[in-house]
Amino acid sequence: MNSLDPRVNRLPQLKEVVLPKAPLDQFGTYEVFVQPKEGKPFQHEGIVHAPNLELAWVLAKEAFTRRFTCTSLYVVDTRDVYVSPLTEGDKNAYDLIPEITEQAGNKKNFEIYHLVKRGKQHVHVGTVQAVLPQEAMQLAGKQFNNGKIVYNVWAIATDTIRFTTDEEKELWLTLPKKKFRDASDYKGGDKLKAFLEKR
């Protein structure tokens, strides 16, 4: 190659043709939830691709909390999120969850998320105890459905979530010190004014 960048010129010549990517070459997806401030609920931010839950947490930290201050985040495999139908207008998603009788078995915790405005993010509203996710949604309907229209409900078994530990929270303490990533660190006004006056 004939590049202006010597490092590009030093790149190896590829012998073989690069074959089309195999399925899952980019790994599966994990859903990312961030708590912007202490006391605020976690909200859904997006996804990362990762080979496992632990690395998903690391990559989520880079992708979603690199620039804005936050207090915590957690990740969960996309396949572990149970999703209700998406509604519109004055239709409440809770009305579309099929009735289910109380199940026998060990109850576990489920985290419940609401979408209350289409186009916005899902926000954590609370925890319920149930055997099945569908049952968890039904219980949530009784506990958290307070008259406002909910367009979409998610339920996630708490034991499938990779949370941030208290120790790890220190990672975000340095964020406010990284001023060079803020627009406010690039005030050129005085320099520009002096330059214009001289001209």
Binding site: L4, R7, L11, V18, R67, L86, E88, Y186
Partner: protein, 327 residues
């Protein structure tokens, strides 16, 4: 932020004939009301196809756009500029991640998108097929190419597809530093030595034609996009976006005492900018592969993919299925 001047496929007049008229009417009514479309909502095939194409091009532009700037990190003047440029380039690659994810919700896998970038099937912003000769070229990108992209992306953030709008909101928030940083760099060159001023003027002369191409072909010759405007996939015509950019940034360039290499550039009485028609033949030639850096850009990506393959292979766990991300 780098997206701009997306190329759209020509739309055939019968491409909506296959769609259910009732569903189509409800879909259009929802957009008309200003509501967002979410991944699990019904949408016409044409909407899905054009959105995938647009978001994917935008994602590729972030990845490829990081190359001409990234190459200057080690040579940026001083520690502070190095730190800032590194953070900026990291942001851009992060933006690509967000955009690929938004495109994935429409049903195209990330593997497929990366393949299409490497084999040349998908496009990216044409401007990154030009080389950054000096530090001033890098400053031009940070300030003015980013500014152009912000004009486009602020408009697109008001579009109709939920996941794309949310990604753009986040991207625009992170971008505010890029624009200020870029302007800061140029102010320092402008108020520096005669040599520094000359360096930026030369960069400006080199980059002006690709910058005018950036917003895409003139409305007179660009593909029929009325339906995309109605569906809020495209939020303004190419010429409208170009005019907005000129309106915001030409005065700032002139303020610094630089000249723009177009004798016909002026604002007319109706407030519209007049300029020499950009060379659209060159635009077509470069976008189709014959630009100064097309080969290099794709080769760098190809080598990176090939070199990283063993790492991805080693990290693979027996995850048995892939599901489309949620939102």
């Amino acid at each position: 932020m780098y997206g701009g001047g997306n190329t759209f496929e020509g739309i055939k007049t019968d491409s909506l004939a296959q769609e259910d008229p009732g569903m189509l009417a409800a879909f259009e009514a929802r957009i008309e009301r200003g509501e967002k479309i979410e991944p699990s909502d019904w949408m016409p095939q044409l909407y899905r196809k054009q959105l995938i194409r647009m978001i994917e091009q935008h994602a590729h532009s972030e990845i490829i756009g990081a190359l001409p700037e990234g190459t200057w990190i080690t040579r940026a003047p001083g520690f502070k500029r190095k730190m800032a440029l590194m953070a900026k380039v990291q942001d851009e690659v992060g933006h690509a991640q967000l955009l690929y994810s938004a495109a994935e919700t429409l049903g195209k896998s990330r593997e497929q998108m990366i393949d299409d970038l490497i084999n040349g099937k998908s496009k990216y912003s044409n401007i990154f097929n030009y080389p950054t000769f000096t530090w001033a070229d890098c400053c031009f990108i940070s300030w003015l190419v980013d500014a152009g992209a912000i004009v486009n992306q602020l408009a697109n953030a008001k579009g109709s597809y939920g996941p794309y709008c949310r990604a753009l909101d986040r991207i625009c928030a992170e971008e505010s530093f890029h624009l200020k940083y870029g302007h800061h760099c140029v102010i320092y060159l402008a108020s520096g030595t005669a040599k520094q001023r000359q360096m930026f003027q030369e960069a400006l002369n080199r980059w002006w034609p690709p910058m005018m191409h950036f917003f895409g072909p003139s409305d007179k010759i660009s593909a029929h996009t009325e339906v995309l405007m109605r569906w809020k996939v495209k939020m303004g015509t190419n010429d409208e976006m170009r005019n907005q950019f000129l309106d915001m940034y030409v005065p700032k360039i002139w303020e610094l005492g630089f000249t723009i290499p177009d004798p016909n550039l002026k604002k007319n009485e109706s407030g519209k900018w007049e300029y020499t028609e950009p060379d659209w033949e060159e635009f077509k030639r470069v976008i189709n592969g014959d630009g100064p850096c097309n080969k290099e850009r794709l080769e760098v990506r190809r080598v990176a993919e090939a070199r990283g393959q063993w790492v991805r292979e080693a990290l693979k766990t027996p995850k048995t299925s892939y599901v489309t991300p949620l939102a």
